[in-house]
Subunit: 340 residues, 2 copies
């Protein structure tokens, strides 16, 4: 597989959020986002040989962590700009997060989604009251569609990850993990984060750099879409090779975000890549042992642990299960494939 470097300005156009921005986001989200629990399974601890704390963002409003960033970002749109609405592009979880946040804040939302997105994601996004515009993943530019809508309507474009408000919102997940681990008297050696464009990873990395600086943060991605892992190794943003496939529909970003990578290169220890088969096995483990519904992209961190990519023996490790928006049929097929 080949990969090409992405041209990058010396410094990103936007300023990275800092820890105070995450604290401010936590205040905005209070009473709106779910403070998801930090779970522990005796069975998983025994299997891993360490102490594993699970952050199930599957239980977050809209079924993924994306609501955190979306609400934090939209809540900061000035009143005068709200009537013109927001527009975004997303394979589904950011779509639902923006749609739900927009509904709560009374802002019209238009979401550009790939026509092959899971039905549950398209249906839920419409269910929150957003207008959905479908595009063909292979032949159209979702950014161009979103920009055309913004030009026409004056709507604010909300990036899925490359935005300080989004990153600060996702960082509240990391903040909760540290506080909840402390209340269990656990000092985390590592945090595994499911990584697409890098919003959750960078937000958590900022939160942990301040509150738990000895914890190493790792990005976990699907094989073939491990652009963040390879970019961290190379010290520059690399794109994924074209033509690769993964059923982790939430994590198919072509390249690390400009802003997210500027943070992650400073604060993230490294990355891991997992195969679809390893992800299916993790989804099955989540179902049979943890009793949690996890979508493919939300299971990559657990897959990295279960497949032995990271050794947790005698360590304390937290991991995100970042989303649970999966069609029942896709879920059943993944579990059956793993059993086969």
């Amino acid at each position: 597989m080949t990969s090409s470097a992405v041209s990058m300005p010396e410094a990103p156009a936007m300023a990275a959020p800092d820890f105070a921005d995450i604290q401010a986001a936590a205040k905005r989200l209070a009473g709106q986002a779910v403070v998801t629990p930090l779970l522990e399974s005796a069975a998983l601890n025994a299997r891993a040989g360490g102490r594993i704390l699970i952050k199930p963002e599957t239980l977050q409003r809209t079924g993924s962590f994306k609501f955190r960033g979306a609400y934090n970002r939209l809540a900061q749109i000035p009143d005068a700009q709200r009537a013109a609405g927001v527009v975004t592009f997303s394979s589904g979880n950011h779509a639902q997060g923006v749609a739900a946040a927009a509904a709560l804040l009374g802002i019209p939302a238009t979401i550009v989604m790939p026509a092959d997105a899971p039905a549950i994601k398209i249906g839920n996004t419409r269910g929150y009251g957003a207008q959905v515009e479908l595009y063909e993943r292979d032949s159209e530019s979702r950014e161009a569609r979103a920009e055309a809508i913004a030009t026409e309507t004056g709507a604010t474009i909300v990036s899925p990850y490359d935005d300080p408000g989004i990153i600060a919102g996702q960082g509240t997940c990391g903040l909760e993990i540290v506080h909840q681990a402390e209340s269990l008297d656990v000092r985390l050696d590592a945090l595994l984060v499911c990584c697409g464009g890098g919003g959750l990873t960078s937000g958590c990395a900022i939160a942990l750099a301040e509150t738990s600086p000895r914890t190493k943060v790792y990005a976990v991605e699907p094989e073939g879409f491990d652009d963040t892992r390879r970019s961290l190794d190379a010290g520059q943003r690399l794109a994924n090779p074209s033509g690769t496939k993964s059923f982790c529909d939430a994590l198919l970003a072509p390249t690390p975000g400009e802003l997210t990578f500027s943070i992650n290169r400073r604060l993230v220890a490294g990355g891991f890549a997992v195969s679809d088969a390893e992800v299916a096995a993790a989804m099955r483990y989540a179902f049979t042992t943890l009793k949690l519904v996890v979508e493919p992209g939300g299971a990559v961190s657990l897959a990295a642990l279960l497949s032995g990519k990271i050794d947790a023996r005698d360590k304390s490790l937290a991991l995100t299960l970042s989303g649970g928006n999966v069609d029942p049929e896709t879920h059943a097929r993944a579990l059956a494939a793993d059993a086969a």
Copy 2:
């Protein structure tokens, strides 16, 4: 359908546990059982028109609330009797609870299970190190098999529900619900409990009578196995008609327990019965919206709410999701059946 009254002595042979027993159980369980979170879903609140708090005992050690009672009961077996072991009979969740508790306490365990129990339950019970003896549900008496083993080995028989130590352990679930609801500033109007033999229901009823006396406690059962509901209405223990079927394998007790019913008749407000189709719909809702894996018997309370058996408009209501030990294939079939 006909039903027959069950002969009952004036008072049960055992004394009912009281609130102090539940507090003592909570101390025994600290660090062994999971303090499962009390979850809330904006989507479910909107659908129900009230405030719904979900107690997912699916996330409990062994995947159901049964570990609470089992550990509390086994921890009270005197040292001198432990080497002779314990024996019990169970369709699967009590089996796993006893097996896991016995392993933690170093007590040998033999479990009499129906040959048609879900594979996941038989496999997990063996996985905890217990010896499993299969019996034919329709032609053999599981109690007689357990008694024969006890006579031969000197093992202590541990009833699935009709035991003060078991009931007090299950009551810790109710205690947690009240404390967790209080921390959310919620005053509960009602608690819906998934009910088989009545152990969880009676334990929660004792806990709530002391800590939240204005909360009405309801037992929820599968249609055809609503012996507790009918017995509460009749004021005496009634058996279920023979020949009825339900896929709620955890809730097929033939009649209310003697001890559990003596408590429930005093403290429980009434009962609801739900059809297998309503349970399948609740399992699908749990999957798609709550992102939780719930077994049929663990979903009856949610089914009672979603099917409109209880009106939660402008009310605050808690419900147990009492277990999540379901084979992936059974789960997929239930979700597909509901979608059809």
